[in-house]
């Protein structure tokens, strides 16, 4: 499949787009990455994702797919090498459940924490930590959420390995305490040392600049 068949509209600091990159890379799928300026979105992006007007959007054979979790399952169903989802229906349901949980409980709280301060931030940090506790239980005794290999759930939750430390720095808060979450920290070490995962990470300093600017928009002081 030529690279012209697969296009990814992304923004460098997007944790959602990163999931798609990891999935495509693990499967060895060639793709063209088109960087969107999210402060000045292209007409093409707005055409490809009129409902949400967001990145990432995967375009395969001229057909666009939006929403990172939807894109991940599409990628797994289209390119059969390096399966990401478990084979067993119950384990698949289990992986989807925790992906959904991490999205609804951890990501939402962590986002609020990186944009807020004071009491509101404190509340969000606590909620994020509570969600982390549940995820800590899930990863205990396993190298990856997928078992011996990186799988769907690792890719979905993978953002915490790189994005949370940046958000902690930008917003002067702490969610990922290594003493409280030893299993997650061990998983992060394993995850980030995988060459495919590591080689595609965005530049940290650019990310810090971006997230600082987002935080300033919301609380100028």
């Amino acid at each position: 499949m030529g690279s012209e068949d697969v296009k990814l509209f992304n923004f460098h600091a997007s944790p959602f787009g990163q999931r798609v990159i990891w999935a495509l890379k693990l499967k060895g799928v060639d793709y063209e990455c088109i960087e969107e300026d999210i402060f000045n979105k292209s007409n093409l992006l707005l055409e490809l994702n009129p409902v949400h007007k967001k990145v990432p959007v995967l375009v395969h054979r001229n057909k666009p797919i939006a929403e990172s979790l939807v894109i991940l399952e599409y990628i797994d169903e289209t390119w059969k090498q390096y399966p990401l989802m478990p084979q067993n229906p119950y384990q698949r349901a289990h992986a989807r459940f925790w992906a959904n949980f991490a999205e609804q409980k951890l990501l939402v709280a962590a986002r609020i924490a990186r944009l807020s301060s004071g009491e509101e931030q404190g509340k969000a940090v606590n909620e994020a930590r509570e969600a982390m506790e549940k995820i800590e239980e899930e990863i205990k005794g396993k190298k990856f959420f997928g078992g011996d290999k990186i799988g769907y759930l690792d890719i979905v939750i993978g953002w915490i390995s790189y994005w949370i430390p940046v958000w902690e720095e930008v917003a002067s808060m702490k969610i990922l305490d290594p003493l409280k979450f030893p299993a997650i920290n061990a998983w992060i070490t394993n995850f980030l040392s995988h060459p495919t995962i590591n080689d595609t990470l965005p530049q940290r300093d650019k990310m810090v600049v971006y997230y600082h600017s987002r935080r300033k928009e919301v609380s100028p002081s």
Binding site: V51, H60, K63, I65, A66, E67, L69, V70, I71, E73, Y74, E77, T78, P89, Y90, R92, A93, R96, F97, N100, F101, K134
Partner: protein, 294 residues
């Protein structure tokens, strides 16, 4: 895989079941299949009351799915519970429906869904599966010999999943907040948003149905289930606000689709009557008003 069990094995099980109510055998295997046969005296009442598992690599045991094997913990007004029921109905799976008590939440609910403590929860062979759309996909995966719920092509599956996510993340929360709207302006704004969403869904129906009756084509599928479950509450909102949301002019295809969906064999017995839902909604609103301090 053989659907039959050797006669000698059968008589072993039979004798043992009748001797003791519960048999714990050294090895366990229970297959997830709908059997064509097996004598009733083995697969009927005996299996309902006894738990017995045997393993024989050369012989497979096919056990008729008894109601107690598959349980669904739910609540009649819940659109999310309805999704699970429709999926099970499409696959002709026999299941036991357990109406959740709430106030307080039952031990079974707290045990089987400790993370969210919500319905629906599907329990299959003692394993709980939570979250309605995850349950629907699980049912489609497990009972794969029945009619397919998700489309077969990856792109069509992605589109169905996209719209189902949109419904849960954006559209339904907006519909729900109409009832709790503070002031006429707020209500109007939310109603407009609901209407805009319906226009998007009208367009999605035209694209995915390809001229057929349902989002899934000839048969109801994933997106029909994901959206159709909200029709009851949509009608409640129309009734309480006096505003027609699904109308002939703006969403003619959805109007026809809604009628067909509600009349479908897998849906009609689990779709609550709008009048009952309206009563239930009024009761909920009264409770909320009573508990809100002045």
């Amino acid at each position: 895989m053989s659907m039959y069990i050797a006669k000698s094995r059968l008589s072993y099980i039979h004798t043992n079941i009748h001797r003791t109510q519960e048999i714990v055998c050294s090895q366990i295997q229970l297959f997830n299949m709908t059997p064509k046969i097996l004598s009733k005296d083995i697969c009927g009442r005996s299996w309902n009351t006894a738990r017995c598992y045997i393993l024989d690599p050369f012989v497979s045991l096919a056990c008729r799915k008894t109601k107690s094997e598959v349980k669904l913990l739910g609540a009649w007004p819940s659109p999310f519970v309805m999704r699970a029921r429709i999926a099970l109905n499409i696959k002709s799976v026999s299941y036991e429906f357990l109406e959740e008590t709430f106030q307080p939440k039952s031990p079974l609910l707290l045990d089987s869904n400790p993370v969210y403590k919500k319905v629906p929860v599907l329990i299959n062979q003692d394993k709980p599966i939570c979250e309605s759309l995850i349950i629907v996909q699980y049912v489609d995966d497990v009972w794969s010999s029945g009619p397919s719920i998700l489309p077969s092509e990856p792109y069509d599956r992605a589109i169905a999943r996209f719209w189902a996510t949109y419904l849960d993340d954006k559209w339904y929360p907006t519909l729900r907040s109409v009832r709790g709207a503070k002031g006429e302006d707020d209500r109007k704004k939310l109603i407009t948003e609901v209407g805009e969403g319906l226009t998007l869904l009208e367009d999605a129906l035209n694209k995915t149905s390809r001229g057929k009756d349902f989002f899934g084509g000839d048969q109801i599928g994933y997106l029909d289930i994901a959206f159709g479950c909200f029709l009851g509450w949509l009608r409640v909102t129309e009734s309480l606000t006096g505003v027609k949301l699904l109308d002939q002019v703006k969403t003619p295809c959805l109007v026809k689709w809604a009628e067909r969906f509600c009349a479908h064999g897998a849906v009609k017995d689990v779709m609550p009557q709008t009048e009952k839902l309206v009563e239930f909604a009024k009761m909920l609103m009264a409770k909320m008003a009573a508990s809100t301090p002045n």
